[in-house]
Symmetry: C2
Subunit: 295 residues, 2 copies
Amino acid sequence: MTVKQLRAFLAVAQSLSFAQACERLHLSQPALSLAIKNLEQSLGGALLVRTTRSVSLTPEGESLLPLAVRLLADWDNAEELLRQHFTLQMGKVSVAAMPSFAGNGLPVVLKAFRDAYPRVNVTVHDVINEQVLGMVRDSRVELGIAFEPATLDGLQFIPLYNDRFVAVVPLDSPLAARSRLSWAELLSEPFITLQRPSAVRLLLEDSIVARHGKLPVAFESHQLVTVGRMVAEGLGVSAVPKLCLRQMEELGARCLPLDEPQVERRVGLLHLAGHQLSSAAQALSDEIVMRYRCQ
Amino acid sequence: MTVKQLRAFLAVAQSLSFAQACERLHLSQPALSLAIKNLEQSLGGALLVRTTRSVSLTPEGESLLPLAVRLLADWDNAEELLRQHFTLQMGKVSVAAMPSFAGNGLPVVLKAFRDAYPRVNVTVHDVINEQVLGMVRDSRVELGIAFEPATLDGLQFIPLYNDRFVAVVPLDSPLAARSRLSWAELLSEPFITLQRPSAVRLLLEDSIVARHGKLPVAFESHQLVTVGRMVAEGLGVSAVPKLCLRQMEELGARCLPLDEPQVERRVGLLHLAGHQLSSAAQALSDEIVMRYRCQ
DNA sequence: CACACTTACGATATTCGTAAGGATT
DNA sequence: AATCCTTACGAATATCGTAAGTGTG
């Protein structure tokens, strides 16, 4: 029994006419006749009673009819669903991104992606840098955006840009008038930063401790927003990835470039090396890479 | 997308190996390779990732896998079900028979039918003669067994045997010693018979009234069993179709042949002339006809 | 070099459409 | 005569298997 044969049977059974069914199937009468004949032969008995002037169903045909309707509907649905997945008229991607990217770079990319593929469902996980790696590794997300990991076993890393730290100072601070700062100048002020598990915090400590000794931490927070607001209120200064520059200035703080040594680290796209990306994930990945490579 | 292609995909997806799938499908590797290729092309994207050394599923393949399992299971089930209907390993027939036949001739036929086709479900409707015709006409049953109807519009009648009436008298009656009776002798006793809507009753009245005047009805009942018991108790005499002879004697009554004029009518098998019988009904019909034609 | 999948190609089977046949209205 | 389904037959298409090719462990 083939799909074509069953489709032929359904067409005839519903119209009770070979001639009409022919048009619906875009098939010649003999071809249809044969298809039905072969179907009947493969099942072992007659499904249709053909008198020269009319067509009717045998009891077996009668019991096949509802089955055929359901089978073909299921078949077509499955086929259509898959096709839509491929043409990105449907499907889903899940991305995990570290907060600094999820809050700053990602939204604009997502906007463009959404415009291109409006029916693809995108799930964003805004989690700390380490969890991004874990989620990609466990296949809980297809794509991740994070700092380049020290060891990428099984992961593939596509670099997007170099993230370097910029100084954040209150608008009314004397430092705010400067065009650039040295780390020493910045660290002489009370320092506000993210709390420990954060990758930004760790990166900062690793780079600073060697040259300037312990970080003079005055305040800590989980959220970049809070850090920005605290700086704006004049509680101290901070250093954040350049990507967060606009966010900081919107919160009422002033950002300045920092002198050498630059504290910077590559940020990039991560996915499992073995697995192949879904069409949707591939499309989103392309979108992200294009946006950062071309600028 | 064809059934073969989906089957090929399923085999590969489950074994994660073209070579193993080949054996399961009884197919050469190139043929399988092509089948998958065509399937992927028809759906518009890759389902399997083939590195030369291993096979894995793309996310789309992953989402097709459960669909494929379900679709093919449904497909095979439907196919198997239909095949079983045809080979009479399954299926159902419904028969309506008038009480005199349902209680006497039918059980032995059904026994033989059941032995031949143990998995065919048979539904018997034990209804009065007129309802047999109605049920066949309304397609509530496929087969009917009843007296030959006066007008068979749309029905086909296959005669089985001539049913003639026999006299039923109490064992202790003087009539019981006789080897045969005339209608006049029988009608001189108090007469017990079935109630009005019964075909047996009407047939009896039609035949008798013309020659002997009104039936001398002493008692009436719906059930042949009751009639038999009443006769056995000596309440009167009766006349019943010959088919019921054994039943009457088991109830303790004596049956005797009746002289001319014979009151007889053809009993036969009925089905809708237009419709074709199901395999199961055809088989039961054959069984019944064979049993009565050959004896 | 052995294994696993793909490509190339000739042979076989199916399926299709045109043409002709038979039956019914 | 017209309609509708079937059979007959040649052509196009698809599928299969053998043989050769390619890349990996």
